[in-house]
């Protein structure tokens, strides 16, 4: 080879914008999630209620089909006349619980292995910032949890709207908004919490346990505070209760099941602020942990 041909020449092809690089991380992460049988089974289970709800909506709008089959069901008749916020509220609550279950198993394995295996310096020696890394990991959980919650929720709304016709959607406009906002708030809270825990607790079973402690046992602490101090502000520790208050408000269904205590729920605005504050705290904890190097202490 001639001498002049042997000098350094870098890659001259086109590159994608660094802004979208986090999707590459997300795609690899999604492939890894679905390579695990447990997570795949959980995901399929989480999708099953959608089929059930779709069937219910179809039958409620086609009672003659039941009649043809010789089935007269009073509950179905009742449902047909009440296809309002309540049905979709229960759908969101059910899917949110499944999303929590899925996130508590999938989330802890998203950041911890990268930290354990020292992969962070290599990720961050690319045109990839710490925020991009977090965004990429967030996109993994965000995509999966969206596929369980608001995406099928809006599809069900679309189905109901198509079957009911004549202005049903206009009359129930807060339902799709409730599904979207309520689900997104839950997804952000859940994803950031799961990733933050994954960044600080490297042993997966312990990280999964920690998520349960925050979301489930937090409620017990909140109740204890409420009863001991005769207040309702202990609910600030009860993330699931706060989300429920927000969903009640978004769907306009009123509290379907009993109050947490006789002093009533927290104001909805306080719940939104608390959820936002907790999400911000989780993001901060996560950001502190994502570094290209170990900090010497």
């Amino acid at each position: 080879m001639p001498v002049h041909d042997r000098r350094y020449r870098g890659f001259t092809g086109e590159r994608r914008s660094p802004r979208g690089l986090f999707w590459t991380l997300a795609r690899y992460g999604l492939a890894e999630v679905f390579s695990k049988r447990l997570l795949l089974v959980l995901f399929v289970i989480a999708c099953l209620p959608v089929v059930i709800y779709a069937t219910l909506i179809y039958l409620a709008n086609n009672l003659d089909v039941l009649a043809l089959l010789g089935i007269q069901n009073a509950d179905m008749n009742k449902l047909a006349t009440n296809l309002s916020g309540t049905l979709f509220f229960w759908f969101v609550v059910g899917q949110a619980n499944l999303a929590f279950l899925f996130a508590s198993f999938a989330g802890p394995s998203l950041v911890a292995p990268d930290l354990t295996h020292g992969a962070m310096p290599l990720y961050l020696s690319r045109p990839l910032t710490r925020c991009d890394y977090i965004l990429g990991k967030l996109a993994i959980l965000g995509t999966l949890l969206s596929a369980i919650t608001w995406v099928p929720g809006l599809l069900l709304v679309g189905l109901q709207s198509a079957l009911a016709g004549g202005g049903w959607l206009v009359e129930h406009a807060r339902i799709p908004i409730g599904i979207l906002l309520g689900s997104l708030a839950w997804i952000v809270l859940l994803s950031l919490s799961a990733l933050a825990i994954s960044a600080w607790i490297r042993w997966r079973p312990l990280a999964t346990g920690a998520l349960f402690v925050i979301f489930v046992l937090g409620g017990a602490f909140g109740t204890a505070i409420n009863q001991t101090l005769d207040t309702r502000w202990g609910q600030l520790l009860m993330l699931t209760e706060q989300m429920r208050t927000i969903w009640f408000d978004l769907f306009g269904v009123g509290r379907i099941f009993g109050q947490m205590n006789d002093k009533g729920d927290l104001p909805v605005a306080a719940c939104w602020i608390a959820i936002a504050a907790f999400s911000a705290l989780a993001a901060l904890l996560l950001h502190r942990r994502i570094r290209a190097h170990e900090v010497v202490s």
């Binding site: 000098r7 092809g13 690089l21 590459t24 292995p113 310096p121 290599l122 190097h293």
Partner: protein, 356 residues
């Protein structure tokens, strides 16, 4: 601790900030390394200007002024000396507490541009879990924003270059330490960077893989790339680097070509040269007549002479004269302490890292 900044420019030894590009290092004493290839980048490639890095109260590196050009530069120092901090600073993974760093004229504030031109290899086993060698290299190329087709082509080429084609479809977790080093190297070179920052890249390699990797580094250097390589194995550095930077306690204590570093120390630490000849006593009498020779000691088998001199150049001229006279038959001349290990020991006054 005084700092010996060495090489042809003696001003550097007087504490003058080193701004001289070292492109010549590629073609320096060992011209075989460059094989007639002229580095294409005449400017300094990595520049540290009065750089300090503190981790809270802990000193990482302090007041570093350093200029690194094309060719292979080795960072040498014991554990905790600040090598990795310097590497991470050069790779843009750490921000200095004080001072400024430029790599190819780019600052860490331009990560989009900077990281395209830097290939980085950590000293640790840095692998996302469960990946095959191919996935590992391919993922990181995709994270550089390469389109799929280009990423596949470049990944294939890098994997071929490190000799990992057959193992590329196996999971990295099942690799030997040497294979892991090679696949890490593949990800560092895959996007065709101009600057390679390689932290302990020869650790764990068997002798054959080590020789192949060193050849690969030389090929990169011959292409005019900048290689910053850290090592604590000194004989490795002797063999590999065009230039060394000795680091200790967060300070750069010496920099330059190994031979240059040794020459600068000659006044305090006379150079030791072993001469194998048939009449060592006669040779001893001749060399003692020179004022730069401080010691001459006969070897045990009376077939050699160990000479300590403050001026290697004059001593070699003397040897030429003696050989020309034909009185003494000189079989071999071997410098005994102009390697990195000796330099390190003289400068730091400690047992050199990696020496046994």
């Amino acid at each position: 601790m005084s700092r010996a900044v060495l090489g042809a420019d003696s001003k550097r030894a007087e504490g003058v900030v080193n701004t001289t590009p070292v492109a010549s290092a590629v073609l320096g004493a060992d011209s075989k390394r460059a094989e007639g290839v002229v580095p294409t980048t005449p400017v300094a490639s990595i520049v540290f200007r009065d750089v300090s890095k503190f981790y809270g109260e802990v000193l990482g590196v302090n007041r570093i002024d350093l200029t690194i050009g094309p060719g292979i530069t080795a960072l040498v120092g014991p554990n905790g000396s600040g090598k990795s901090t310097l590497m991470n600073l050069a790779a843009g993974l750490l921000r200095p507490t004080e001072g400024a760093i430029e790599v190819l004229g780019l600052t860490p504030d331009q990560p989009d541009q900077l990281f395209r031109r830097i290939g980085y290899c950590t000293q640790y086993e840095s692998f996302p879990r469960g990946m095959t060698g191919w996935d590992f290299v391919h993922l990181y190329l995709r994270l550089h924003g390469m389109p799929r087709g280009d990423a596949e082509r470049l990944a294939r080429r890098a994997i071929e270059r490190v000799g990992m084609v057959e193992a590329a479809t196996r999971r990295v977790g099942a690799y030997s330490k040497g294979m892991k080093q090679r696949i890490k190297l593949a990800q560092a070179i895959a996007h065709d960077p101009q600057v390679l920052v390689l932290d302990e890249p020869l650790n764990g390699l068997d002798p054959l893989a080590r020789a192949e990797t060193v050849e690969l580094f030389r090929a990169f250097a011959a292409e005019g790339r900048v290689l910053l390589v850290s090592s604590h194995v000194l004989h490795e550095v002797d063999e590999l680097a065009d230039r060394v930077v000795l680091v200790h306690g967060g300070y750069v204590v010496a920099e330059g070509a190994v031979e240059g570093v040794r020459d600068e120390l000659a006044a305090e630490r006379p150079l030791q040269v072993f001469v194998r000849c048939d009449q060592p006593s006669l040779l001893a009498a001749r060399v003692f007549s020179e004022d730069h020779v401080v010691e001459a000691r006969l070897d045990g088998d009376r077939r050699g002479l160990l000479v300590r001199t403050e001026n290697a150049e004059r001593f070699y001229l003397l040897l030429n004269r003696v050989a020309g006279e034909g009185v003494v038959d000189i079989e071999a001349v071997l410098p005994a302490d102009d390697d990195v290990q000796s330099v390190y020991q003289y400068l730091i006054g400690a047992v050199a890292p990696g020496s046994s």
